[in-house]
Amino acid sequence: MRKLLYILQKEFTQVFRDKAMLPIIFIIPIVQLLVLSYTATFEIKQVRLVVVDHDRTPESRDLVAKFSGSSFYKITNQVVEYAAAAELLKKGKADQFIIIEPKFASHLVTDRKANVQLITDAINGSAASLMSAYATAIIGEYNREIVVAITPLAGQSLPIRVEPSYWYNPELNYITYMVPGILVLLVTIIGLFLGSMNLVKEKEIGTIEQINVTPIKKYQFIAGKLIPFWVIANIDLAIGLLLAYFVFKIPVIGSVWLLFGVASIYLVAILSIGLVISTLTNTMQQAMFISWFFLVVFILMSGLFTPIESMPHWAQIIDYANPVAYFIKINRMIMLKGSGWPDIQNEVVILAGYAALLFTFSIWRYRKTV
């Protein structure tokens, strides 16, 4: 037991002596959390809109005013021709353009029906559908007002009124949704990368040769390698939670202890994956590359950016083996919903099962190879 303490002392000395390590461990996660939380959003704040108004009546100007009044839109150009608008879209200087037909106002009054054309740059499909939905909503609102203005009684006759109420994230704030996920990302990077790299480093530099002729037992050596990053990742999580509270005003609604308990189990799984990677590789470069591969797959399939429910069925099945997906789900539940043990026990049990399985496998692999 004392031997393990000496090994830990040595590991921590090395970690904190490395001038490049301190920023990696403490500054990069903070920057990631602050930057990513703001940037990883699907909200589109400023759609650059080009207006082609062939009508030029108070009615058509009202419609345009609806767009310019919206915080989502910025009217960048008013042009007179379709071709000019198309050119702007092609050059990437606009995201969307709206064409108001000639005699828009008179059609509205006489035919009770008028046309506008909406053209959206759809290179980014999800952004395009969002922009299209925004525009449709604005035009819909204009529609209702026109109907009310023309036939005053119509407004009261709508049979169903929808009163939306958004729970857990009442302002539909994307940051609230992203922060718990990004916290998981940080913890994962520390656990997976630093864990596997640190072990491979001993192999690559050759220091393991000297260690192997000492009476240090393998479990002591492995524990000495993994415990520091288990601790550091938990510290990073704590820093992240403080930032979430003070910077983003996102408190942990559920139990903080439960959160750290789950994180500790999760980290065993992640560090074990790192350990397996370190047995498969001989240099830090190789370990880095394989860790990166796993990280990207885990993260992109984790539901951090895109909902798991919208993935194809086979991907959802693969996700049953993705520890990141479990922890992101649990973290969102605890932080935002205040879920307690009964709500998350299934996920935690599965995660713990994975952790136990991966840990056993990694030790077995390690014994065989090193």
Binding site: K3, Y6, K10, R17, G206, Q210, T214, P215
Partner: protein
Amino acid sequence: METPSAFIRIENVQKHFAEVEALKNVSINISQGELFGFIGPDGAGKTALFRILTSLILPDSGSASIGPLDVVKDYKKIRKSIGYMPGRFSLYADLTVEENLQFYARIFKTSVEENYKLIKDIYGQIEPFKKRRAGDLSGGMKQKLALSCALIHNPKVLVLDEPTTGVDAVSRMEFWELLKKMQQMGITILVSTPYMDEATLCDRIALMDHGNILSVETPVNIAKSFKGNLLSVKTNQMYGLLSDLEQFPHAEQVFRFGEFIHITFQSENTPEIIENLTSYLNSKGHKEILISSVEPVIEDCFLALMDQPEKA
């Protein structure tokens, strides 16, 4: 071979890595307190043998023991009773001299203070730099630190894999003086080196090549065992000299030796041979011919031994 005083016994050890046979049926007995050298070029199998003795790898067949301890069965006890210095500097470059030494002392359940007397001569030289990181030390100082760390747990046997490779001549001599002191303290020392001149400093040496032990003898006896006489030859046309010498009727063995070529022959009449050789080389068009009779050194024995299987 079986002697009652054998402390380290290596019996019929074989080891192969993939296609390469690193050790082919190696057997050696080494007495307690000996300073035993393994001499041979890269790839001779020295490191493989050391790694088996230090329990880092398992032999394919055969057995090895240190005292009563078998290197396979009793590997835990073996690790406590040997000090190993790998060929590559294997201490933590980012820890200081003092921290490295302390770490290795502690994991062997001892302390620097407790065994200070063992390492005083060596560690004393680098102690002024104890706050310096091991990675910033010079080559010679790194070796001294590595030796200190290998000694700190008071091992009975020291296994040193090419400790002087890449170290300057002065540090090399110092290092060997330190080894002599270790030996006087009763430690059995196994050391490998590619430098033939260091072989004479050992009590006994084993010449190794391609996984075989060519000879185990004291340095003096190895030199004595050299059969025949030796001439050292140099001319203005070194290119072609080797094949010309091989065709010289009296030549037994011909091999490069630094900037010279050494040639062995059995005749006792050296001046006559020199005369014959001079006229022979003249007839082959060589000029500035330098021929001298030399005493065989270990390298000659080694090169001659290495040459034999090919000729046979």
